[in-house]
């Protein structure tokens, strides 16, 4: 799956879970300071990612991810591995 498609899908998820305008979400957006996510939000997002991307984010994954770009890269790697 190309990155752009993952990014667009992530924007929809983040906008819905964090109640922010999808147009205001960019790859550089920091999940906590820019988009207002707290630890509960991140756990909810991980749940949606599990459903939508069939990838079970670990607590370490959640702690490592800072930006939308980080999340996008992680999911790109996962989908590339699946495709290989």
């Amino acid at each position: 799956m190309p990155n752009k498609r993952i990014l667009e899908k992530l924007k929809v998820i983040l906008a819905r879970e964090l109640r922010v305008d999808a147009d205001k979400i960019s790859e550089a957006s920091v999940l906590t300071s820019d988009l207002g996510a707290d630890s509960l939000d991140l756990a909810e997002i991980a749940l949606v990612i599990k459903e939508e991307f069939q990838y079970d984010m670990s607590d370490q994954d959640i702690q490592k991810i800072q930006t939308v770009s980080d999340m996008c890269s992680m999911l790109s790697k996962v989908t590339e591995k699946e495709a290989a």
Binding site: K9, V12, L40, E44
Partner: protein
């Protein structure tokens, strides 16, 4: 069926007042949040004993993530307060309980508060709200909140993969 309100009445005794004219000491309002919450859990959640057993075995832990209070009027020794609760901000891993207090059967809110609850599994990771509890939470939430929850999480047409 959603829209129900759970309530508890309580008479104020000396041990809940302070030295400043017998007014109820502020921390009691937070204590009452816990009292009403736990009355709700024990009376409105039929499977609560099973959840407590799970908690005793360390498989689940209920955590209060946030708490807020707005004090509108005093309460004194002898007053009878009624605290009504409903849930809101329903999510799969958390929900809010909203508290509204009146006193002496007068239809005027004298205190509002809320708290957000979440759950941890035995590893300390956040987990989804236990189903048996969540059924009671849905029942005690405004209809609009339940509809929003169902639209967001249960409506398969909303799933992104189907787009």
């Amino acid at each position: 069926m959603p829209g129900r309100i759970f309530s508890v009445t309580h008479r104020i005794y000396f041990n809940e007042t302070n030295a400043m004219g017998g007014v109820v000491y502020f921390s009691n309002f937070v204590k009452w949040q816990g009292m009403v919450r736990e009355a709700f859990l024990t009376q409105a959640v039929p499977e609560w004993p099973l959840l407590i057993e799970e908690a005793r075995q360390g498989n689940v832990n209920m955590i209060t993530v946030e708490e807020h209070s707005t004090f509108i009027d005093h309460v004194y020794f002898g007053d009878v307060i009624q605290i009504c609760i409903q849930a809101s901000e329903l999510r799969r891993m958390s929900f809010k309980i909203n508290f509204e207090m009146t006193k002496n059967s007068i239809d005027r809110v004298i205190y509002r508060g809320w708290q957000k609850l979440a759950f941890q599994d035995k590893k300390g990771s956040l987990m989804t709200v236990p189903g048996a509890l969540f059924d009671a939470v849905l029942e005690h939430s405004p209809v609009s909140e339940v509809e929003e929850y169902k639209e967001k999480y249960l409506n398969s047409e909303n799933r992104l993969l189907n787009q």
